[in-house]
């Protein structure tokens, strides 16, 4: 009985058979700048990459199998841990799909939709902060890492205030939220909004017109609009190639059509274009947050009152018998979702994050298939890495911004 998988010799290392004179190098699972456990088997001739074959699966967690064995509302625990840079976007997309299957997607209260929009824009900024920080470190810009992570810290305080945990707050539920925003939340939010503008000015001043970064990023990993679409690109990479496809504009969900924001695009399609698109996206996200902030002052219902899905308020459980029965039934055997299948897409920080959820009428999902934007974004490395210097491989991986919890699921 082997307690661990067999030795590494069996891995797909001999995939790239080395033609004469070329060295096969494994930019392996443990590498300072692969942003996670990615193994790129590169065949190099001197400094030029002649063949790059990314190998993934080193963080395969079987999340979709686990989700099939959990109740509908429990499954969001494992699903949130897929894209751990913006967990709320995953949970939001999954719950929107379930609400569509239940047919209650029109009855989500206003305030719940506003808070969902607020939190997914905040997690977009937090995720781009991590991309900016680690991308800067790859190119030697350490100060950017400290500035960006400090801004992210303030945003994580908001998540901690909302759901209780910094990264995986588990704050969403079918039909709304787990609880209302705590008392001091809106003041903290005002603090973040006030702090954002000067901090972004510092970050742009540090990195945007930095000649070293410009030399390292311009004309590296070029991807035209045609190839971007064929390789399944969505999100900042597609918009850096010139196509302004944003799921929040194309298929508005959770009340996004009420806010105006525009979709930044570039046309060069190289690493620097993606850099600029993501920076502008952070500003657009903050623009939405300011609009949502105005709406949050009016209190309202944060959870559907239909107790078939939402547990009754805690205080009523001790008082009324059927509230206790509802609560017990929901907790012990969850609710059932009518049979059917649905595909729901959401604009994640890395692109179109989709959930193809199939239910056979049971109280557990039959199948939860995730459309992982990071996997398709990463796959294009095979194409754009050919003929580039091996030092630029680091810049390309950073500009594709893969998150390996989502790539390997």
């Amino acid at each position: 009985m082997s307690t661990i998988a067999p030795s590494t010799a069996g891995y797909a290392v001999d995939v790239v058979e080395s033609t004469d004179g070329r060295m096969v190098l494994s930019m392996g699972p443990q590498h300072p700048s692969t942003h996670g456990v990615l193994q790129v088997i590169t065949e190099i001739e001197g400094e030029i990459v002649t063949k790059a074959s990314p190998e993934i699966g080193y963080l395969h967690t079987g999340i979709e199998k686990s989700a099939e064995n959990l109740f509908w509302s429990q499954a969001s625990t494992v699903i949130e841990r897929m894209d751990y840079l913006s967990p709320l976007t995953n949970a939001l997309c999954y719950y929107l799909a379930v609400e569509k299957l239940l047919g209650i997607d029109g009855q989500i209260p206003e305030r719940a939709q506003q808070i969902r929009v607020l939190l997914s824009e905040l997690s977009r900024i937090a995720s781009h902060c991590v991309w900016l920080g680690t991308g800067g470190i790859d190119l030697g810009a350490l100060t950017g890492f400290f500035y960006a992570f400090d801004l992210r810290e303030r945003i994580l305080d908001l998540f901690e205030a909302s759901g209780g945990a910094r990264m995986h707050p588990n704050y969403l539920r079918v039909g709304g939220l787990a609880q209302d925003l705590p008392k001091g939340f809106l003041d903290k939010l005002d603090g973040v909004i006030a702090m954002y503008e000067p901090r972004m000015r510092d970050l742009r001043g540090l990195l945007q017109k930095n000649p070293i970064l410009q030399d390292r990023m311009i004309d590296v990993g070029i991807l035209e609009a045609e190839d971007a679409v064929a390789w399944g690109m969505t999100g900042p990479i597609l918009r850096a190639a010139g196509i302004a496809y944003d799921v929040r504009k194309a298929f508005p969900y959770s009340g996004y059509d009420r806010y105006e924001f525009d979709v930044p695009t570039r046309t060069e399609g190289d690493a620097y274009a993606r850099f600029l698109v993501r920076l502008d996206e952070m500003d657009e996200a903050m623009r939405i947050i300011r609009q949502v902030r105005k709406e949050l002052d009016t209190p309202g219902n944060w959870q559907m009152t239909d107790t078939k899905f939402a547990p009754p308020p805690k205080e009523t459980i001790a008082l009324s018998m059927e509230a206790l029965i509802h609560h017990f039934k929901l907790v012990s055997e969850s609710f059932r979702v009518p049979a059917g299948d649905v595909y729901q897409a959401v604009e994640g920080p890395r692109g179109e994050l989709g959930y193809y959820v199939v239910s056979n009428g049971d109280n557990r999902p039959w199948r939860v298939r995730t459309r992982p934007p990071s996997m398709y974004n990463l796959q294009v490395l095979k194409k754009i890495a050919l003929g580039e210097l091996i030092a630029d491989m680091v810049v390309m991986i950073g500009s594709l911004d893969p998150v390996f919890g989502e790539v390997d699921r």
Binding site: T3, T265, R336, G340, V358, R369
Partner: protein, 242 residues
């Protein structure tokens, strides 16, 4: 694990895709594997320029058993503003596949299909004809079985289950973390004696003697292979360690 009430008979649909809730998220097409490539090529000609995802679903009792789901999106392929993009049309092509039936690959139409098809093969066992690199993508290369099939146990085959070491071994105190000054030192001395007794017995059993081994951490794995490490029941409350 959630309670194991089995759903009342008849309340679960064998083929959920046949039951069409009123959700207008995409146009649905159902094809068979031999008509698949023709349909995809025709859809691509109609303007569905992006294959956003290929997913597999295992409907256990349904005939055909598997579904390979192609999600297509009609995106413009050159620079376009938000207005040009508008609300692109979506199509979902469901391709019913039997257990040992092969599906033609779509890599020729969209290069994005490469990894997606490898993943469907890796997790469902559905092979794709003349795919450039038909290998496992998520699981180790020599893994038996296809994990996302409904008859594949959640925790994997019994042979792969790693034994859970006793909690005593894993507690921080056993790992030498000092509770507090004097108590910690006393505890450490007791653990050291327990450890050295156990090491002595191990030494008599012909194993190499290890002096000064850190309490709690079992022998450094350098010389003991991982398999032996996992099976050695290092348990503080065994009889002779009392």
């Amino acid at each position: 694990m959630p309670s194991s009430q089995t759903p009342p008979p008849g309340s679960t649909a064998v083929d959920p895709t046949a039951v069409r809730p009123t959700i207008a998220d995409a146009r649905i097409l159902r094809v068979t594997p031999d008509a698949l490539i023709a349909t995809l090529r025709e859809l691509k000609a109609q303007g569905f320029s992006q294959l956003t995802d290929i997913g597999g679903v295992d409907y256990l009792e349904r005939e055909p058993r598997f579904d390979v789901v192609y999600h297509l999106l009609a995106l413009p392929t050159r620079e376009s503003s938000i207005g040009d993009v508008g609300a692109p049309a979506r199509v979902r092509v469901l391709c019913g596949v039997d257990v040992d039936q092969e599906v033609p690959t779509a890599v020729a139409l969209w290069p994005a299909a490469d990894w997606a098809e490898r993943e469907v093969f890796d997790l469902f066992g559905i092979r794709f004809q003349d795919h450039p690199d038909m290998r496992r993508i998520q699981m180790p290369d020599d893994w038996e079985g296809y994990p996302l099939r409904k008859d594949y146990p959640l925790r994997g085959p019994a042979s792969e289950r790693t034994p859970r070491p006793s909690f005593a071994l894993k507690s921080n105190v056993a790992a030498g973390t000092p509770a507090s000054g004097r108590a910690a030192a006393a505890l450490q001395k007791q653990l050291l004696e327990a450890r050295s007794r156990e090491v002595k017995t191990a030494a008599e059993a012909g194993r190499t003697a290890q002096t000064g081994v850190h309490p709690g951490a079992s022998v450094t794995a350098g010389d003991a292979s991982a398999k032996e490490l996992a099976e050695r029941p290092v348990n503080l409350n065994t009889k002779d360690n009392a």
